[in-house]
Structures are given as structure tokens and as C-alpha cells.
């Protein structure tokens, strides 16, 4: 019944033909409607969003400053990391003595004071950044590599592999990360950076494995993966071209949020005396030392604590902005 109506009303003689209509319609808009929606893809949008977020700018700046400090520690630190001066000197005080060995009395400024061994606190903190950065990056890289591989395979293939992985994740879930790391240190039987990296790295595997598995499980159900299978795409190509690119955002966010956790974990292990060797300059050890002198020299624990806080805060803020920009849910990534 409806077909008769298209020609109702005026005869079409004075109507515009479709091309002409399109030409006129174009005059009224600068671009076609398709072009007016963002054209440059997601990355530019994310960049713009991050640049417009004060939290992100602060985070990124502080992170860069931290990395820079760690890389150029010998140049930034005023003294050698093992040089000793007067012990328990207050912030903004001076040590006097022959520190250069040239027979003259030097007057040495300690902006943050000295610790109970007489190390310049600022120097120790600057060098401590190196351990923190090293441990953070290596542990997260390790946990990411192993965890993502496990999660991807388990999530995609399911079945027995998945079942085994999930039991393992349940198992690891039973251990708070530091406890697991402490247990591993006991197992590995000794202190040192390598053992700390292995211990924390292993303790973080489950976070990545669980995240990636969850992402894969949900992406695997997407219609575009079904569409890829329908054209005959191989499993490997589906995993690398269809699934992983869509799981990148939460993985990146998880990585930026795991770095501060690794920094805290390293500091906690060192604080407990289960981390690096006691002479190494690290923030955790300084805090442990400061705890003993809390009545006499508050600065030994407060400044390294603040250093941890600022760096962790910076990473957290940056990671949080990334999450907003990538539109990843709070519940998707874990922060503990």
C-alpha cells in the first residue's frame, strides 16, 4: 500500500536530482558527517586527553624527574654514596672534617642531614632511586611477560590449560604479594637485588595473568573474533591481530599501576631486612634505620619515606589518567 505514496504530492519535475541535492547539502556543512567525527584514531584522542589532565601532567613530570635522577645519580648526588660525614646531622647542617684527604678542614653541607652511619641523606636517597627504578622496571617486565603469555594461552584455549592456570591463580591469590616474596626469598636463601627481582616478579605474575585472561575471555566472545574465524583466520593471527590489540589498553594501565606497587614492595622487603644487602643505598633500608633512631633523628626515616611517596604518587596519578583516557574500568585492573 505504501508504494503509491512516494510520488504523491508535487510532481518531481522541479525537484533536485540526487547529485545536485548532495552538492547543496555539502554547502551547508564544512565536512561530510563522517569526517566530522574524530578521524585520527584513538591514539591522538588519548594524547589530547592526557595533555588536558593536570593529574597526568604532574604524574608524568615527576616520573620523568625520577627516571632522570636514577639515571644520572652520580652527577646529581653531591657526594659519593659511601662517603661518611658526621652522624645524625640535622637537615641543613654542616659537617666539618678532612673529607677530601688533602689535609684541610672541609665544611660540607647536608641539605637533608646525615644518617646514623654519617652518610649524606640526600646522596643516599638519590642513589636509592636507582634501586627502586631498577627493581620496579625489571619486576614488572618479568611479571608482564610471563603473566601475559599465561593469560593469553589460558584465556584463548580454555579447557584443561585454563583450569590449571586458574587453580594456580587461586593458589597465588592466597598469598599477599610481600608474604609470597618473603617466602621466595627464604627459598632462594639469600639477600640481593636479583633475588628481590625474582621474588617480587613472581608475586606479580598472577595480576597480569588474571587480567589478560579476563580480557581474552571477553574479547573472544566479541563478534569480530567470530567474524575472523568465519573467514578462516588461524588461532595465532586471531590472538595477535584481533585479541591482543584490543587488550592493550588495560595491560598498559595495569603496568603503570604495578610499577608503584613494585617500588613499595621492594621498599617493604628492604625495610624488613629481606631485600638488598644492608650496605646498598635503598629507601627501604634507610627507613628501617631511621626507625631505630626515631627519637634522635626523625629525618632519616621521613625523607626517604617522602621520596617513596612522591614517586609512587606520580606513577599512580599517571596510571589513573591513562585509565581514564583508555576508558578502562576501575574493577578491571588491580591495585593492591
Amino acid at each position: 500500500m505504501s508504494n503509491d505514496h512516494t510520488t504523491a504530492g508535487r510532481s518531481d519535475s522541479d525537484a533536485l536530482d540526487p547529485d545536485e541535492r548532495e552538492r547543496i547539502a555539502r554547502r551547508y556543512r564544512d565536512e561530510s558527517p563522517v569526517e566530522s567525527t574524530e578521524n585520527r584514531g584513538v591514539y591522538r584522542r588519548i594524547r589530547d586527553q592526557i595533555l588536558s589532565d593536570k593529574k597526568a601532567i604532574f604524574g608524568a613530570t615527576m616520573v620523568l624527574l625520577f627516571v632522570f635522577t636514577a639515571m644520572f645519580a652520580p652527577m646529581i648526588a653531591p657526594y659519593e654514596q659511601d662517603e661518611t660525614f658526621g652522624i645524625n646531622q640535622e637537615p641543613n647542617s654542616y659537617s666539618e672534617g678532612d673529607y677530601t684527604g688533602n689535609g684541610e678542614i672541609d665544611r660540607v653541607w647536608h641539605v637533608l642531614g646525615t644518617d646514623s652511619f654519617g652518610h649524606d641523606l640526600f646522596t643516599r636517597i638519590v642513589f636509592g632511586a636507582r634501586i627502586s627504578l631498577l627493581v620496579a622496571l625489571t619486576t614488572v617486565a618479568f611479571a608482564f611477560t610471563v603473566g601475559t603469555a599465561i593469560g593469553l594461552i589460558a584465556g584463548y584455549y580454555g579447557g584443561l590449560i585454563d583450569e590449571l592456570l586458574m587453580r594456580y591463580v587461586d593458589f597465588q591469590w592466597a598469598f599477599p604479594s610481600i608474604i609470597l616474596a618473603a617466602g621466595l626469598i627464604a627459598f632462594l636463601g639469600g639477600l640481593g637485588v636479583t633475588n628481590v627481582v625474582i621474588a617480587i616478579g613472581v608475586a606479580f605474575i598472577d595480576d597480569f595473568a588474571r587480567l589478560v585472561r579476563g580480557e581474552v575471555l571477553s574479547i573472544r566472545e566479541e563478534e569480530y573474533v567470530l567474524a575472523a574465524r568465519a573467514i578462516g583466520t588461524s588461532d595465532r593471527r586471531i590472538m595477535t591481530k584481533e585479541i591482543l590489540p584490543n587488550a592493550v589498553a588495560p595491560i598498559i594501565v595495569q603496568m603503570t599501576l604495578m610499577i608503584p606497587l613494585a617500588i613499595i614492595a621492594e621498599a617493604a622487603l628492604s625495610f624488613l631486612g629481606l631485600g638488598v644487602k644492608p650496605t646498598t643505598p635503598t629507601w627501604g633500608l634507610l627507613l628501617a634505620e631511621g626507625r631505630q633512631y626515631i627519637n634522635q633523628a626523625w629525618w632519616i626515616s621521613v625523607f626517604p619515606g617522602l621520596a617513596i611517596m612522591v614517586v609512587v604518587l606520580a606513577f599512580n596519578m599517571f596510571g589513573d589518567s591513562l585509565r581514564d583516557a583508555f576508558d578502562v574500568k576501575q574493577s578491571e585492573v588491580s591495585e593492591k
Partner: protein
Amino acid sequence: MKKYIAKRVLNALFVVWLVATVVFFGLRAIPGGPVRTMLGAEATEEAVNRMRAELGLDQPLYVQYVEWMIDLMTFDLGQSLTSGEQISVMMASAVPRTLSIALIGVVVGLGIALPTGIISATRKGQRSDYVATVAAFLGLSMPAFFIGILLALVFGVWWGVLPIVGYAPLQEDGIVEWFRRILLPGISVGVPYAAVVMRMTRSSLLEVLDAEYMRTAKAKGVGRTTRLYKHAMQNALIPVVTVAGIQIALVLVGSVTVELVFGIQGIGRLLVDAILDRNYPVTQAVILLVASIMVFMNLSVDIIYTFLDPRIRYGDEAS
């Protein structure tokens, strides 16, 4: 629902068994064997063998394993290598200390987190949200032991109103003294916990406030406060409970380090000392204990779910 709970309980038991087994074999897989590591490289072969016999390590592996399982089921955790004390006795004194800290931590944490999370979500974008969010970031960025040191410094050293060393058992010294000693450590572990839970509360509530059924409630003429507490809260709490449960781990980890700050002989100290002394029986006992607490927490979360989520309560998880 029965099936759901049965499944969860079975899973929990399975995990505890798995942990016990892994700890058992892990211990025996230590390069060079635990006894050699314990006694040091200089120990004579004879001394090592005597020690192995004492610990039952000379028996076939399966016999050891069965005995270990039987011991566990009878709560016989063996003896400390350094003091010869029964480990169960050591635990009996350490566990209440750690749990006291954790308890205060959780109470303080939830006490801060839930109200701020709710305020922050309902006033999204306003000044109070901003302040709460920044505070949460700070809380998230300070490890418990640093907070502990700061609190000890301020309230103990500078202000001198609270003791900063030691623990006072509840039964012997009364609740006031117990509380005075446990308050600062409790707050120290509670603050990072509060930060995590608050952020989850905020985001979860924001998501729920956006849900279609909230629009239905508004369209029915339900007032703002009733919408928030009656219609939104229970739905929003479902993910919060997960996080609050899992993050008990954060409180336990915090306790371990904070015990060191405040000189409290809890399980954290026990563990650290045991590891440093290579006191393997104690190490494995503590690890097993912590893992069991975590498994129990996860199980509790699963059971709380059944109260919060009618979809689980009435048995069809799948949909």
C-alpha cells in the same frame, strides 16, 4: 545457592591443600636441602644427618608427606629450631597481636572508605570529591610502614600521647591499654586499605548511579536519598566487597611491616625472624597460616555475595 557455597568451600579446601603441598615440596626442593642451608657449609656430615633424622627428613618422601598432612590436621606444627618452642604456642601468642592490628585497620579503613567514597561519588566534580580523591591518592602512595613511622613520630615522639613500642594483651591489661597500643599500628595499615576501598566505592557507585534502573527509580518519584541508599547502594557494594575482601591482603602485609615499626611480636615478626634465622618449620607454618587466612577471607567474600546478589542467592550464577 547450596551448590554455589559447596563449590566455594571445596575450592577453598583445595587451595589450602595445594598450599600445604607446595610448601612441603618447596621446602625439600631447596638447593642443597634445608638442613645444609640451615647449618651452614661448615657443618659436619654427621651433624647434618643427625639433624635430618631429628626432623624426619631421612624418611621416604611419601611417608614424610603423609605425616605432614596428619600433623597439619591435628594442628601439630612442630618445633622452632632456634628456641625449641612448640610452634603452635608461638602462634597462639603472635596471632592475636596481628589480628588486633588488622582488625583496627579494617575498621578504620572501612570507616573512612565507605563514607568518603559515597560522598565523593554523589558530589562528583565538586570540591569535596576533589579533596577526597587527592586524599585517596596520597593514602594509596604511602606504604603502611612509612605511615607508622610518621604516626609514631608525631604522637609518640613529639606529642607523647601514645606509646610507640610493644603490645598489651587484651585479657591482661584491659581494653584501654590494648587499644592505646594497637591504635597507631591499626591506623597505619588502615589508611592504604581505606584508599583502595574508597576508590572502588566511588567508581562502583558512579557506575550504578548511571544505571537504567536508577532512572526508573527517579521516574517513579523516589527521592534522592532513598534512591542512593535503597536503590543504588546494594548494587554498588557488590564489587566493593570483592575489593575489600581481597585487599585484606594489604592489611596483612601492612601488619608485617608495621609490627616492626612498633616492636610488636606478631606473625610478621615471627616470619621475618624465621626467614633470617633459616628456621624452616616456623617459616612454613607462618606462610601456611597467612594463606589459610586469605583463603578464609575469599570464602567469606563469596558468602557475603550470596546476601548482596540475589542472582547468586537463588542459584543461577550463570545468568
